[in-house]
């Protein structure tokens, strides 16, 4: 089984259909593709927001995502996966992050996508700053994201 891995950090938006096509084309062993897209909402914790700015740690961000992609591939029988994380200024309704997983079986595709998202939220070095009527402020990490990531740690 060949596994194709794509990891990108970019300012530009992504095209889910194109990314799915890139992951699945020329092969007929994939039975399930799960995509997760994270989208900028116009409220955060009840307060209206005008935009987000995403900052990241170049070099480490790619290294962390690659490490978790390798963990996902060792833990689930995946045909391929794609992680795209945008940085820079993002408006409500715009895409922030894309995770795609492809497998022969749906359970593996679902679990690997959830695992990657939980780890992106808590371990990948990205930070969100929000713009609202009250000015700009850094979004605080949420305890339940840590809890979500912790469920993948083997006890």
């Amino acid at each position: 089984m060949t596994t194709s891995v794509t990891i990108r950090i970019q300012q530009a938006d992504f095209d889910i259909a194109r990314e799915i096509a890139a992951l699945t084309q020329h092969r007929n062993d994939i039975g399930a593709v799960v995509s997760f897209s994270g989208i900028c909402r116009d409220t955060e914790g009840g307060a209206s927001i005008a935009a987000l700015t995403l900052e990241h740690y170049p070099g480490m961000a790619e290294a962390e995502i690659t490490r978790h992609a390798e963990t996902a591939m060792s833990r689930w029988p995946l045909n391929g996966l794609t992680v795209i994380h945008r940085v820079g200024r993002i408006m409500p309704g715009e895409n922030i992050v894309l995770v795609l997983t492809a497998s022969a079986h749906r359970q593996a595709a679902f679990e690997a996508a959830e695992f990657l998202m939980d780890y992106l939220k808590t371990n990948a070095p990205f930070w969100k700053r929000e713009e609202s009527a009250k000015g700009t402020s850094w979004i605080e990490a949420r305890d339940h994201d840590d809890a979500a990531a912790a469920r993948w740690t083997k006890s």
Partner: protein, 83 residues
């Protein structure tokens, strides 16, 4: 060694990165935070709650008891909020 700062740690310190030469008794990431916090008010503000500061050595997450000897690049930042 090179030190990098991100998000509000960067904003409070007022710079993205710098090269530092801590004394020999600064051995761990925690020691380095204490040493930096004593530099001036900006650093003190950035590191006022060490519990919430995350650190990485050469692009890998580390805890505050990690040794800094041999590190090329150390980064300090708040808890991550990507995804």
């Amino acid at each position: 060694m090179k030190v990098k700062y991100f998000a509000w740690v960067r904003e409070r310190i007022g710079k993205e990165e710098e090269t530092i030469e801590p004394p020999a008794d600064v051995r761990t990431v925690g020691d380095l935070i204490d040493w930096l916090a004593r530099r001036d008010e900006s650093y003190a503000h950035a590191f006022e709650t060490p519990r919430v500061i995350r650190a990485a050595i050469d692009h890998a997450h580390v805890r505050s008891d990690a040794m800094i000897s041999g590190a090329r690049e150390i980064a300090f930042f708040p808890p991550m909020t990507g995804g």
